[in-house]
Amino acid sequence: MSRKLKRSILFWLLLSPIVVVILFPYAVMTISALKSATEVLNPNWWPSELRWQNFPEMWQTSGIAEALANSLYVSALSTVLTILVSIPAAYALSRYQFAGRDLFRQFLLVSQMLSPIVLVIGLFRLVAGAGMIDSLNVLVVIYTAFNIAFCVWMLQSYFSTIPRDLEEAAWMEGASRWRTLIAVFLPLAVPAMVVTAIFTFINAWNEFVIALTMLRTEGTYTLPIRVFSLVAGRYTVDWHYVMAAAFVASVPVAILFAWLQRYLVRGLSIGAVK
């Protein structure tokens, strides 16, 4: 017990510098979110009063509620879709030898290489040509496409560490490939799936440029558009509301982290060669 305690103290000490740096902008954000409009420009750390009502005020004026719902919809759906599309591909890459295997992997990387800022022009022409702008579902598909490369690479690397004989044992018991995937393979790949889920969810959650280009109407705006539009180029910025909004926007993600992080535990001793 005390060994663990000692280790814990040591680890926290080691982590503390980075934790401080990470928390710094959060601290700035939180404190600014609780300052009044007159005080928000002062760089003091302790405001004379904590204005909790900034949050409800921001909530009402910024239309953030609807954006929250839109963002949740887009992020959740594209997470699911990405994983559904990536798993078969990653499985094929890690379990089959086929012509073009390495090429496909590299192609996936290529799909990440165009700077999104440029990409968006071409993409928009494509979507506009199909008459599908202002649709959250189109956004879902685009996000999915963007995240495939990472997800496939990540899943494939992880899949390769899962011993084949586990699958083979399932086949021997008569389980189809599909069933094996569901019952044996994927449960063992949970950490990798968690990583990819977090990744896709967050990318969709935070994505701004594509959303702004593809979406038109208030009803479809996602959170980043709302939050960003509180700052971008306005003649007057209500920093306390901006910070409050940014804070609110990060809460669901933090909850997601809290929920998913424990699935990142070290494997069930699956890699052992015996």
Partner: protein, 355 residues
């Protein structure tokens, strides 16, 4: 239920052949034991039968179906993996019940099967443990349990009892025989345990370096090994080989060793003067009552409880003797031994084949 017919089966990894054209027929309902040195291709053969490894060339018939390209799921075979291959995220119960569950059996029926298997395997106390919370032998038993809850056309066992203690192993052996008796399913069983092989097999196949050396009933193999390899592989401690020249006189043919003394040999087709090598199983030596025997130079004495193992040399050749009695000769001393000529195996010194 199904027999198995294997023709010219070859397996290669890249340029390297692991199986060099194996031919094997397994009768429907037969209990076939596969033995051979580590790395000779036993597991590979099982995996090819199971459909887990591709067949490089040759034919594999399960029942009367050419099964070369058949997916493992379609073969209705059950297998215990040498590596266990337990599902790490499933409890013992789930692991054992996996097969029936896949076949969508009623959960009541599954439970009953699992409980019965757990009873047989002494696993009832561990049904809700995960594999990593089990001891080595317990894991191996779970692997066994996963197999025996099913009623496949063919059982494949890859050293399923290697991590069990002697007592449990005897018990499991009996259970398995009973299972075989009851289901009459063809079983192919890989083991390194001599007693297991001898007592369980309807037929034993001895492999070596990707080839089949001999196949036959246990006693056939024990009594008439076709070559030195089989003779030396079967039986533990292994047979002693002593080189010499055959001398046919009036009576019993005898072999003259380099050191000059002779050992009587039984029926053999070897010609007088032929360079031969005789094989004598350590347990077949007898203490000579008079001076008629041949000399044995004792080096080490090892009592095992029920037996006494001696290490020493005959005619300068390492030889081991096993005596049922607890004898205690001085290391360094010389003993006179005899042997029933009928129990002497004669091999051609060049080819190693029985003559």
């Amino acid at each position: 239920m199904a027999g198995l017919r294997i023709k010219e089966l070859v397996k290669s990894y890249g340029p390297m052949n692991v199986l060099h054209g194996v031919d094997l027929d397994v009768r429907d309902g037969e209990f076939l034991v596969l033995i051979g040195p580590s790395g000779c291709g036993k597991s590979t053969l099982l995996r090819m039968i199971a459909g887990l490894d591709d067949i490089s060339s040759g034919e594999l018939w399960i029942g009367d179906r050419l099964s070369n390209g058949l997916a493992p799921q379609q073969r209705n075979i059950s297998m215990v993996f040498q590596s266990y291959a337990l599902f790490p995220h499933m409890t013992t119960r789930k692991n054992i019940g996996f097969g029936p569950k896949i076949r969508r059996e009623a959960s009541g029926a599954i439970d009953a099967k699992v409980n019965k298997a757990a009873e047989t395997l002494n696993l009832h106390a561990y049904l809700d443990r995960l594999p990593r919370q089990l001891s080595g032998g317990q894991r191996q038993r779970v692997a066994m349990g996963r197999t025996i809850v099913r009623e496949p056309d063919l059982f494949l066992f890859d050293e399923p009892l290697s991590n069990l203690d002697a007592k449990l192993r005897v018990q499991m052996r009996t259970e398995l025989k009973a299972l075989h008796q009851q289901l009459k399913t063809t079983m192919v069983y890989v083991t390194h345990d001599q007693i297991e092989a001898m007592t369980m097999a309807d037929r034993i196949v001895v492999m070596n370096g990707g080839r089949i050396e001999q196949s036959g009933t246990p006693l056939e193999l024990y009594d008439r090994p076709v070559n030195k390899f089989v003779a030396g592989f079967l039986g533990s401690p292994a047979m002693n080989f002593i080189p010499g020249t055959l001398e046919r006189g009036d009576g019993q043919p005898r072999m003259r060793t380099q050191e000059g003394f002779t050992i009587p040999v039984g029926d053999t087709a070897a010609k007088s003067g032929q360079e031969i090598e005789i094989g004598i199983r350590p347990e077949h030596y007898r203490l000579a009552d008079n001076d008629e025997g041949f000399p044995y130079q004792v080096a080490v004495v090892e009592p095992t409880g029920s037996e006494t193992h001696l290490f020493g040399t005959i005619a300068g050749i390492d030889a081991r003797c096993v005596f049922r009695d607890r004898i205690a000769p001085e290391p360094g001393s010389q003993m006179m031994l005899t042997i029933d000529p009928a129990k002497v195996h004669v091999f051609d010194r060049k080819t190693g084949d029985r003559i």
